[in-house]
Symmetry: C2
Subunit: 579 residues, 2 copies
């Protein structure tokens, strides 16, 4: 009984009840591979977010366990990610000094709010909200954010201090103008780390193949890049005591031991000022997660339950808020690694969390000499491929309005900031969608030969019926296109004095909202004033129900609505002859 | 040559070239009737906007002439209107003290900006933007705004001074709590004026009919309401010197003479802070104008050119900015009066402007003793019928989401202010539209008997083809519904291991955007990974063009796209049998 109940809540319980030894081995290895990537990454992303490195590690323990218990994806690797970290830095940084206790507290509050928003989206079935972020907006946003993220790390990479400006573009310019005052030792470590990471990421694979290394072994070696870079860099700093002799900035003391319980400070003021940020992070984070999870699941004919995912990600963020972490979500690259490392069940994520916990318990002294510049290198190499030059060019050929949406988002993110930027991108694409919707496809129709079929007069050789204007509209009647119908009908009527009846063929109308209904009534009244009849045909069930609900006259429903265009035209042509 | 050119710019020129004596008589009378209404109204609305009364009069001269020269409606009566005046008061009042020279200057700037926005909308064909304001949002907005307008005048009606709060609801509460300290003389005049106006508006018509007054005469008498109320109130104040003996607030000195040239002060700061307000007023004002103009034109089988209207209204606002006025638009009630008074051509508006000019030149001394309370009464009686209780109830039966949009707008206008309120209403209705669009109508189809027709399996008795999943989507593929298609297909494939081919019947897809294309590609790739074929049929011309533009493989276009579902199923069933 209790077990049934647990199973209903946690998909993991079902998995465990038939867990096999071979699955265990696969999950353990994948969990370790992801952890090796995650430990340096989580510290680097915490730095990107303006937080101490341990916050990144803390965000990689409990949230992963909670997601594993509640989520429906086997491969999704939850934890700190670059995009969300940048949003945290930009948004919370406007309210408090990065790294300060106040800043850390606000990050906990933000994580809790993001968790609650996810859960609210699950409860109220608002998952469709991610649709607002169209593909072009996402590409524009990701490219611009990658540039902002990359440049934000240059100061750590080369060891200079740069004032961050109000807008991203200002920070980029001031970074560029400070290139001259680089700390050479830091710069050396940073650039070497970048080259090493690029080697592991791109150059090593063909080399290993050439030397006849087995593919599985080769794949595992490639994932060691960040670990190798961090180790070498830390050894160099340690060997030359570069932190003292050359002022190379290092990670320094990290408190060892598991995170304790933290209580996010909840003031009305903080909640109000964090709300837009929480909303943007929720949408962006959920979108990244769900798209990765879906892509990985579909390869195995598995499905992802969007509402369950919202709940699981929400609980992961709530977990982060209460264990000293900061906002997390499902990451793109680590999930791919998790998948290709052969993870079989969500238990893989729990193993990752255990390995991170072991690091926090026993390995923090080893992290002391890690220079910030190698962490910056990890971030820069990770985000550089996200700057996408191909898509804008392709889109330009495909559709100018889509290309424009991309451009607006890209420029807006760089010029006005990452939050305002994505909102402007969303507004631009909604405006363009409304523009398209405001001109629905409409066709005057006539009878094909002696058949019962009616087709577009512009494309078929059809017979017209004198005095009758019959047309079809291929779109539901929403407020977005309401003004069109009225203008179209009235223009036809004004230009063709012979029209005695207007027939709207409703086969393409799936739904009608209050504005659409209002327009239908207006058209009916205006035609009536001119002594012109207004008729409908092929009205779908749901639309008829709506007309009845709206209190349309019984007589109109009976006399002015026909089953088919054929029936309508037969009746109307008789009327026209009698007149 | 020059004449042709003038005709192309000004529809009025064409009208004048065949102007007849009977048209002249009709236009002159209608012009006078509207002017009699407009003179007291324009002063009242100026007061509502926080401006001296002459500003209302100035806004009723040049703008009317400019509209008459450029507009395409014969009946639209341009000038100050209640809604725009309230928006001016609320928006500009947040930046400067109402009535101050700075306030008056900002109103000129605002009028110029609104004019330019109208013209920009004409040039870039952005008229569709009014579609964003759905019928429920408009009703909610109008009702709430009427309440805000009405209560804002109570202080003038009863002669108390009330601090206006940050949010409308605060002002309403503080007005109510000040009712006790009313100036009794002012209150008496105000209430009497209200009763008189209500009598003219509602009670007098049946009375006149009973006494056998001819209908035309009766209609003219009814329109004299505001003039009669203003005259009686002014005579009472003058007779009892109530302005001195009882501190009744009066209009006082109005400078006589025509307005001079005014230059709107254009600072970057002013423009930036007025921009959202200008945008809202442009949309709300244009929407009111165009809907009245369309309704009146359609009665006579005339049409309205939306772009020309934008241009004409824009020039009217530019005219207001340079002649000491404030933002104007086409008013609802005066246009109806203009129409029913028998106006024939736009020359009617020019006559109205001339009568207003004569008033400003010679009658201003007569306006001295007009009490503010009678102007407040004119406003209150005008806006009270705009509070609409019936529509919300009807909508609640018709559609919960439409009713919700109305409620959100209504509450938001009262709680957060008139500008934010309408924006929240628009956001709410766009979100609900996206929610509907995110679940497009989709149907699995099968063959009807041995015919070539394919219909919904849930509604028809159809034959299925083994291994083939054929479905139809009745909506264009936009980013708004993109996630649906992928989820739907993948869910079917995950649940039905027998599926070997997926056929998407595209007869309902009129357009495809970049996100839609991306989803099609993803579905194709994911199905491909599973060894499932992905086919399209009934692809419309514009969609095929898009696929080609997007660089879809030549081989896919040739082999995976069929002319009809019939052709596709024939081919796929052969494949299935061979497999």
């Amino acid at each position: 009984m209790v077990w049934q109940w647990i199973k209903a809540i946690s998909p993991l319980a079902t998995t465990l009840s038939s867990y096999r030894r071979d699955q265990f081995a696969s999950d353990l290895i994948a969990g370790l591979v992801v952890a090796i990537m995650l430990v340096p990454q989580s510290m680097a992303y915490a730095m990107l977010a303006g937080l101490p490195p341990q916050v990144g590690l803390y965000a990689s323990i409990v949230p992963l366990i909670l997601y594993a218990m509640l989520g429906t994806s086997n491969s999704l690797a939850v934890g700190p990610v670059a995009m969300v970290s940048l949003l945290v830095f930009a948004g919370v940084g406007a309210l408090a000094t990065p790294g300060s206790p106040e800043f850390i507290g606000l990050c906990l509050t933000l994580a809790l709010m993001i968790g609650v928003l996810h859960i609210a989206m699950a409860v109220f079935r608002l998952g469709f909200l991610v649709n607002f972020i169209s593909h072009p907006v996402l590409v524009g946003f990701t490219s611009a954010a990658a540039i902002v993220i990359g440049f934000s790390q240059v100061k750590h990479l080369i060891g200079v201090s740069v004032e961050s400006g109000e807008y991203p573009i200002q920070s980029i310019i001031s970074t560029l103008s400070n290139l001259g005052s680089a700390n050479l030792a830091t710069l050396g470590i940073g650039v070497t780390s970048c080259l090493l990471l690029i080697l592991f990421g791109y150059g090593l694979a063909p080399l290993l193949k050439q030397f006849g290394v087995a593919e599985v072994t080769a794949e595992t070696i490639l994932k060691l890049g960040p670990l190798v870079a961090v180790t070498i860099a830390a050894l160099i700093v340690f060997g030359g005591r570069l932190d003292q002799s050359h002022a190379v900035k290092i990670v320094g003391d990290i408190p060892s031991g598991l995170p304790g319980l933290t209580i996010p400070p909840l003031t009305l003021d903080a909640i109000r000022s964090l709300l837009p940020l929480a909303f943007v992070i929720t949408l962006v984070g959920y979108m990244e997660s769900i798209s990765v999870a879906k892509a990985l699941a579909s390869r195995k004919r598995q499905t992802i339950d969007a509402d369950r995912e919202l709940l699981a990600l929400g609980m992961a963020d709530v977990g982060a808020a209460f264990t000293g972490g900061y906002p997390v979500t499902g990451g793109f690259s680590r999930s791919l690694v998790n998948d290709s490392a052969g993870v079989r069940t969500p238990l893989g994520s729990i193993f990752t969390a255990l390995f991170v916990a072991i690091s926090v318990l026993f390995l923090t002294p080893l992290f002391y000499y890690i220079p910030n510049s190698v962490l910056a290198a990890i971030i820069i190499v990770a985000v550089a491929p996200l700057v996408d030059f191909k898509t804008p060019l392709k889109l330009w050929h495909f559709s100018r309005s889509d290309a424009l949406a991309l451009l607006v988002t890209f420029v807006a993110v760089l010029a006005t900031g990452i939050e305002t930027g994505i909102l402007l991108g969303v507004v631009a694409s909604v405006v363009m969608l409304m523009s398209k919707m405001s001109r629905p496809h409409v066709a005057e129709v006539g009878r094909v030969g002696n058949s019962e079929h009616f087709r577009n007069v512009d494309r078929y050789d059809v017979q017209m019926t004198a005095g009758v204007f019959a047309f079809r509209i291929d779109e539901s009647l929403y407020f977005a296109n309401s003004s069109f119908l009225q203008s179209y009908v009235m223009e036809q009527v004004a230009n063709r004095p012979d029209i005695q009846s207007v027939l709207l063929i409703c086969s393409g109308i799936n739904e009608i909202d209050a504005t659409g209904l209002d327009v239908l009534k207006t058209v009916h009244r205006e035609l009536n004033d001119l002594g012109i009849g207004f008729y409908l045909s092929d009205v779908k069930g749901p639309v008829t129900d709506r007309l009845k609900l709206a209190g349309v006259d019984e007589s109109f429903l009976r006399e002015n609505i026909f089953m088919s265009a054929d029936a309508a035209i037969q009746k109307l042509s008789v009327q026209a002859m009698e007149a």
